[in-house]
Subunit: 225 residues, 2 copies
DNA sequence: GTTTGAATCAAACGTATGTTTCAATTTCTG
DNA sequence: CAGAAATTGAAACATACGTTTGATTCAAAC
């Protein structure tokens, strides 16, 4: 009985594993395109050119594999968000709203476009958000909690006078647009008959930031700002 | 071999079936809470107090059951949207943006709150949006196409000068916020530590409309309106 | 009261799945 | 090079699933 090495986040320098990475890549792709349940370990290991037992050797179970697939990218993604927020707050004590929204939104869009398999991952996370299995959803949400705390504070300072309840709702709406766009941008292509190009993340990012800032700055109903 | 009666949409006056409705209700609930794949016909029929074979007798297959669950509410929901848009356009030839957005957003929120099982259904649809199985996704999108066509025209007239590409993207962002809110409003409750109340659909609707109109009216970047 | 078709039921079928096992092999280490 | 540990491999296991079958109950029609 051999214990596979720790690799928790993708930060460790690839250790020695190839099979392990192949499994994560294949699983990510298939989870996104077929769903966690429909993607069988047999199809995953076949795609990764590994033996069926490799999943249990390297991860212990299918559920643990799902967790690893999520954790591998979610950690770095949220770290990037926090780092960009740090930068924005360093520049001016009261950064522009556009910079805050950008720090929240752009890392996701960039990951989709630039990282190999990013598209599949975004779609997978989008799925996981509405995942009924609490274990998986909590895994995403726990990674998300610090981000929510930091960004809601930043929003609060950038939008003085906005009631906290209103602010959290607007944050919620923001997350919705962001997730829908990062994970399901192809729907915009489909529904606009090819007019919208989800590959052009710079354009999409600009548009999304503009839209969200407009919404975040809207006059609060029933409240005198 | 007996052919079960037509009930396509929920419009037919309940025909004579009880088991059939029980199956749809139970399936809707379990699809939302466990996902289509994890919800077995055995658990569905148990919840509906029906026999295992009843699903195949009344619907033919599990996939057909999924389709029925979707179609039962999706048709009326989108009809309601179109009717409200008609009313808004009848009132003034150029209705206020708020009225258009409301016609798009409120039927979903109201269904969640007012119809029995509406919450479960919204969550299920939210899942289906990111469903990898094209057959299910297309079922949702096909029901959605006329709505998109009508509303994008209305938006276009309410927001003159906005390039069509920008307009479709903003519609896309709008859908994201709406779906995220109708299906996953409980996340706002969780992430705001109980500050946001997803049950208060009047409040949520007002906030969502305000937010979306702010975003839709934002100055388009890179374009002189 | 018998007949007919719809609806329900218990039981089984075939298959695909996650998991386990243990031998074979490769890779590192002293 | 020898030995130990890590990794891969082929096969089997138990289980849960969607589906099918054929008998049975039930309600109305004649």
């Amino acid at each position: 009985m051999a214990e596979p090495l720790d690799t928790s986040t993708g930060n460790t320098p690839a250790a020695h594993a190839d099979t392990r990475t192949n499994l994560l890549d294949a699983a990510e792709h298939l989870f996104a395109h077929e769903g966690v349940d429909r993607a069988s370990l047999r199809s995953i290991t076949r795609a990764a050119e590994a033996n069926l037992a490799a999943v249990h050797y390297h991860f212990g179970s299918k559920e643990a594999l799902v967790r690893e697939v999520l954790a591998r990218r979610l950690g770095p993604l949220n770290e990037r968000r926090l780092r960009l927020l740090d930068e924005a707050e360093r520049d001016g004590d009261n950064p522009r709203l556009e910079a805050i929204v950008g720090a929240f939104v752009l890392p996701a869009l960039e990951m989709v476009q630039r990282e190999r398999g990013g598209h599949a991952f975004a779609r997978f996370v989008c799925r996981t958000f509405s995942e009924p299995d609490e274990a998986f959803r909590d895994l995403v949400l726990d990674q998300f909690r610090e981000v929510v705390a930091r960004f809601s504070n930043a929003f609060e300072r950038a939008l003085p006078g906005l009631p906290r309840e209103e602010l959290f709702w607007r944050f919620h709406f923001t997350v919705g647009s962001m997730v829908h766009t990062a994970g399901l941008g192809f729907l915009a292509y489909q529904l606009s008959d090819g007019l919208c190009d989800p590959e052009d993340i710079e354009g999409v990012g600009e548009r999304l930031i503009g839209f969200l800032c407009g919404g975040l700055r809207a006059k609060a109903v029933g409240h005198e700002a």
